[in-house]
């Protein structure tokens, strides 16, 4: 076998430690102690469950559910900053569908999310495959790979802005001095190119998350399966496609799900790099909603733009959860 090792699988560790644990438990638990009233209640599964879930539910209700319903109310009102709002039904949404900038933002959000996720998945998978080996600098390499994800987004985005700068771009400097281009490339100045630059930065930032999570998935794949496949004559690509991939599909789906949701709702990256320009060609839902709500002070309209995301995301998450549940046989 090649010189790499799979990380010990926790389940095995757990199973192996049953005996000592059991001994510890026996030692730690006095027998047949009568339970208090509260203790009795906590023995019941449902009571315990709700007790455990209570803090989570409180926080999420107060800080998400309530503001969320407030947000829905905003979107069906004509609220502007400083004045009370009145119910206006779906008018905000109708106005949005009529707004060319909104439609552009709609298109951009989807393109941005799907293309970026595709690349993050591909490069992340590649990185995970590479990192799934045992080599001397493994730890440092893995930690360094995570750096783009660790650094505060707003700051790394500022760095990229400087790297793309129309006058001072380091990329242009390299390309010009290498004689590959004669005129500066306007990374953020051309509609399509700007979109591409945004996707590039998003992929750079998000790939490590995919890599590390997929790496975890790869390590649960039993090496014996690969041995068997090899013996049967499969080459590396076939082994990947038919053995590895199906086994890590669940984790792939989950990480894609989380990432897609975060990318749909992205704000910082686009806001810092282009603010939606040039000529509104890079607006996504988040940035456009922000501009309308904050600078035009139309809170109701802004909320309606933000909310457009929601039904779609709901469908996506329901589909994926259903798929995961089905395939994991839970």
């Amino acid at each position: 076998m090649a010189d790499h090792r799979v990380e010990p699988i926790p389940a095995e560790t757990a199973a192996a430690s049953v005996v000592p644990v059991r001994a510890a438990v026996t030692a730690a638990v006095p027998r047949a102690r009568p339970l208090s009233r509260l203790g009795q209640l906590l023995e019941q599964e449902s009571f315990l469950a709700y007790a455990l879930l209570a803090p989570t539910l409180v926080i999420l209700t107060v800080f998400i559910a309530y503001p969320f319903f407030l947000g829905i109310w905003l979107s069906i009102s004509d609220k502007v900053v400083g004045r009370p709002g009145h119910f206006i039904g779906l008018q905000n949404f109708r106005v949005n569908l009529d707004d060319t900038i909104f439609l552009r933002a709609f298109q951009n959000t989807f393109i941005y999310t799907f293309v970026a996720t595709f690349f993050k998945l591909s490069f992340g998978m590649l990185a995970a495959l590479l990192l799934n080996h045992h080599f001397r600098w493994k730890r440092i390499v893995r930690a360094s790979m995570l750096l783009p994800w660790i650094i505060p987004t707003v700051l790394s985005t500022l760095a990229w802005q400087w790297m793309f700068d129309a006058t001072f771009s380091v990329f242009n400097w390299v390309l010009m001095n290498a004689g590959l281009i004669s005129r500066r490339i306007l990374w953020l100045g051309d509609g399509t190119l700007a979109m591409g630059s945004l996707i590039l930065v998003n992929v750079w930032r998000g790939m490590p998350f995919f890599a590390i999570t997929l790496l975890a998935g790869l390590q649960t794949v039993n090496p014996d399966l690969h041995e068997a496949a090899e013996i049967d004559g499969a080459n590396a690509w076939q082994r990947f496609w038919r053995v590895t991939l199906p086994l890590i599909k669940p984790i792939m789906l989950v990480v894609v799900l989380f990432s897609m949701i975060a990318t749909f709702a992205d704000f910082q990256l686009v806001y810092v790099l282009t603010r939606g320009g040039p000529y509104s060609s890079t607006h996504i839902f988040g940035t456009y909603a922000y501009e309308i709500a904050m600078r035009a002070a139309k809170l109701g309209q802004g909320a309606s733009i933000s909310l457009f995301l929601f039904p779609f995301l709901l469908v996506v998450i329901v589909l994926q959860l259903w798929y995961i549940r089905r395939t994991s046989g839970d």
Partner: protein
């Protein structure tokens, strides 16, 4: 601390303060602000009164420090705890929105451009203050009034006007035969064409930022005779004149402008100019300010010129700033006293001078300030407010004008034309967008 004690300690300061104030405001004004202050006895606010002021981060950093210093001075004189908070222009709106909605936050907020119209319902009427100052200082510019007077009352006290002009390299312009800054757009285009051939194009932003990009879009449109709406807010952008302006801009872009401009925000032209990659640009005095301190060689050869004249005249888009007092504030009286004290000549003077030409006063009095004489290069700044108009012209600079501004309709109209859209189509697009806003 007993009032007497406080008076005793501050007595000297207060008397000195009143003397200077009295001298500066002249004898003619009966009582005057110092009179009012004197009559009130030192503004007596209960101990522990706080005043929270929100300002933008100035493009001229020392002026922020001066503002803070003056605010602290006021705090000592009035026995009030003053905090000044500075936020970047682009990040002010969410702070303001959240303060208004939650009814808590700074007592005084600096407004930029026509924000008083946008937030009018949450602002305190300040007619007495505003008119007092107007009378004393020779009247406000039309621009200042249009911006701060909403409906039937003054909703903010005009503070200053930031005016952009053309900063240009005198030496390079001389080399191509322009001994002074061109008077008309056609002349500028000729000069620009020659400069661009030499690798020294002019620079203009067409990206999404509130400052510089609008500094072209609106004035050029007005200069050729176009405008967004008429005085009854009927959309008239799609006109022969606008199309002329668009055609001119596209040609100007090809012949004379740095083509990175589509990606530029408010900061790119400063950097490009100071790095020597462009020969001229529309900007406030911040370029010159930084040059004098960090790039003296460039400062020596930099001068300022007026916006060229188009067939319909010469126009500027300027950024007036004003101070508004928030309705939710529990310290409205203190706030009024602060603004009154600050706008008093002896205080405002200090702040005005440190800005070194970056700002104009809101009223005519400041046109004659000796500072303008000190450096002849600053003269165009002094004169620009008279040519200034506001977004939403010829209608009022109200909420709808803000929406158009925020959606960058004017800027995008030009940007799209530059990218290749036919000028007629670009104007039509702007018309349909504006119609939705002014619906």
């Amino acid at each position: 601390m007993a009032r007497d004690e406080r008076d005793g300690q501050k007595g000297m300061d207060r008397r000195a303060f009143l003397k200077v104030a009295g001298a500066a405001t002249g004898a003619g004004f009966a009582g005057g602000i110092p009179g009012i202050v004197a009559a009130q006895k030192p503004p007596s606010f209960p101990k522990g009164t706080k005043l929270h002021i929100l300002e933008w981060v100035s493009f001229v950093p020392p002026s922020d420090q001066e503002f803070k210093r003056l605010a602290e001075e006021f705090g000592k004189l009035a026995g009030v705890d003053v905090t000044v908070e500075f936020i970047n222009m682009n990040d002010l709106n969410p702070r303001i929105a959240s303060a208004i909605e939650t009814k808590a936050g700074p007592d005084i907020i600096m407004m930029i451009s026509n924000w008083p119209h946008l937030y009018a319902d949450a602002l305190v009427d300040v007619d007495d203050l505003a008119e007092e100052i107007a009378k004393r200082d020779g009247g406000y510019y039309d621009l200042s009034k249009a911006i701060s007077f909403v409906g039937k009352s003054w909703k903010a006290v005009p503070y200053c006007i930031v005016t952009p002009t053309w900063a240009y390299r005198e030496d390079w312009f001389k080399e191509v035969g322009a001994t002074k800054f061109p008077e008309t757009w056609d002349e500028l285009r000729k000069v620009g064409t020659q400069l661009k051939k030499q690798g020294r194009p002019l620079g203009q932003a067409f990206g999404h930022s509130l400052g510089d990009p609008n500094g072209w879009a609106y004035p050029v449109t007005w200069g050729f005779g176009g405008m967004e709406v008429d005085k009854n807010q009927k959309v008239i952008i799609n006109s022969k004149e606008t199309v002329e302006a668009l055609k001119f801009t596209v040609a100007f872009w090809k012949d004379a402008l740095d083509e990175g401009g589509l990606a530029w925000d408010d900061t790119n032209n400063n950097r490009a100019y100071l790095a020597g990659t462009i020969s001229a640009t529309i900007n406030g005095a911040s370029i010159y300010f930084v040059a004098k301190r960090q790039f003296p060689d460039i400062a020596k050869v930099t001068n300022h010129g007026h916006m060229p004249k188009g067939p319909a005249g010469r126009f500027y888009l300027t950024f007036p700033q004003e101070h508004a007092i928030m309705k939710y504030s529990k310290n409205q009286q203190v706030a009024k006293e602060f603004i009154r004290w600050f706008m008093d000549r002896s205080q405002y003077d200090k702040w005005f001078v440190i800005n070194d030409g970056y700002v104009n006063g809101p009223a005519r009095y400041w046109e004659n300030h000796p500072m303008w004489q000190r450096d002849a290069k600053l003269v165009p700044f002094k004169e620009s407010p008279q040519f200034a108009r506001w977004p939403g012209f010829a209608g009022p600079p109200d909420r709808k004008a803000s929406e158009a501004l925020v959606k960058y309709i004017m800027v995008d109209m030009y940007a799209q034309a530059i990218k290749g859209m036919k000028p007629e189509d670009a104007a039509k697009w702007a018309e349909s967008e504006l119609k939705k806003v002014y619906a």
